[in-house]
């Protein structure tokens, strides 16, 4: 059992359920180490469907345009945003940021 804090976290469970339902992917195939695009085969359209569901579920706005630009410019490796455990950490940070501003 990995000691990765995101394994089995509540955020991961919600995100994995969203991905399974939105992108019609078997829930068992979705792990914290899964790369959304490379492992799960999620295309850009499906990723936006997932982003909408995540934005609604968590009350946040995933900064996809900034992330895409950073990856395209080589400033950040794609894994930082698209491996699910990292995506979940970003979601948690956005939720915390929003709560701090409230």
């Amino acid at each position: 059992m990995s000691d990765d804090p995101a394994t089995g976290s509540a955020t991961f469970q919600r995100v994995a359920d969203i991905i399974a339902e939105t992108a019609d992917i078997e829930r068992d195939k979705i792990t914290p180490e899964s790369h959304a695009i490379d492992d799960l085969g999620i295309d850009s359209l499906a990723f936006l469907d997932i982003a909408f569901a995540v934005d609604k579920a968590f009350g946040i706005k995933l900064p996809l345009e900034r992330w895409t630009q950073e990856v395209n410019e080589g400033k950040v490796p794609a894994e930082q945003y698209f491996v699910l455990k990292n995506l979940c950490a970003r979601i948690d940070a956005l939720v915390a940021e929003k709560a701090a501003k409230a």
Binding site: A51, F52, L64
Partner: protein, 154 residues
């Protein structure tokens, strides 16, 4: 409406920026090659063109919301329902509301009414991205022609 040119919206009746809502009007032409095929002797506005009408009203709403910083492109149509028929000469009242403004995408709900009755409705999603070269100016001009920013509520 100029059906064959895919210019569906004739005028913007009201734009409420704060509420994220648009009301627009479209007059179905009396004659069009579209009606010759759909259907012979029984002209009906095709559902896909009603969807395009809802998408265009939504698209103008998104353009105004983004201050023409980006161009919306239809990405998904969900739960489209066509509840009644409509034919040549009809005046369509279209409404669209912004449901979610995401990063690089937007979601609207749109509906069309005809003579006070629900005609169709759908949830629409748009990809928003920088304008392709040369599209910015014609879109602004089209928006000006339909009165998108006249009488807009702040």
């Amino acid at each position: 409406m100029r059906l064959e040119y895919f210019e569906m919206i004739d005028s913007v009746v009201r734009l409420d920026r704060a509420a994220g809502r648009i009301e627009a009007r479209a007059l179905v032409p009396e004659a069009s090659p579209v009606f010759e095929g759909h259907f012979p002797g029984h002209p009906l506005v095709p559902g896909v063109l009603l969807t395009e009408t809802m998408a265009q009203a939504s698209g103008y709403l998104v353009l105004a919301h983004l201050d023409f910083a980006q161009m919306p492109f239809l990405m998904a149509v969900d739960k489209a329902r066509f509840r009644s028929f409509v034919g040549p000469g009809a005046t369509l009242d279209i409404t669209a509301s912004l449901e979610h403004d995401g990063s690089g995408y937007a979601v609207t709900k749109a509906a069309i009414r005809h003579e006070g009755k629900a005609l169709c409705d759908a949830e629409l999603r748009f990809r928003t991205m920088p304008f392709p070269a040369g599209l910015d100016a014609p879109m602004r001009e089209r928006a000006r022609k339909i009165g998108l920013l006249d009488g807009a509520q702040p």
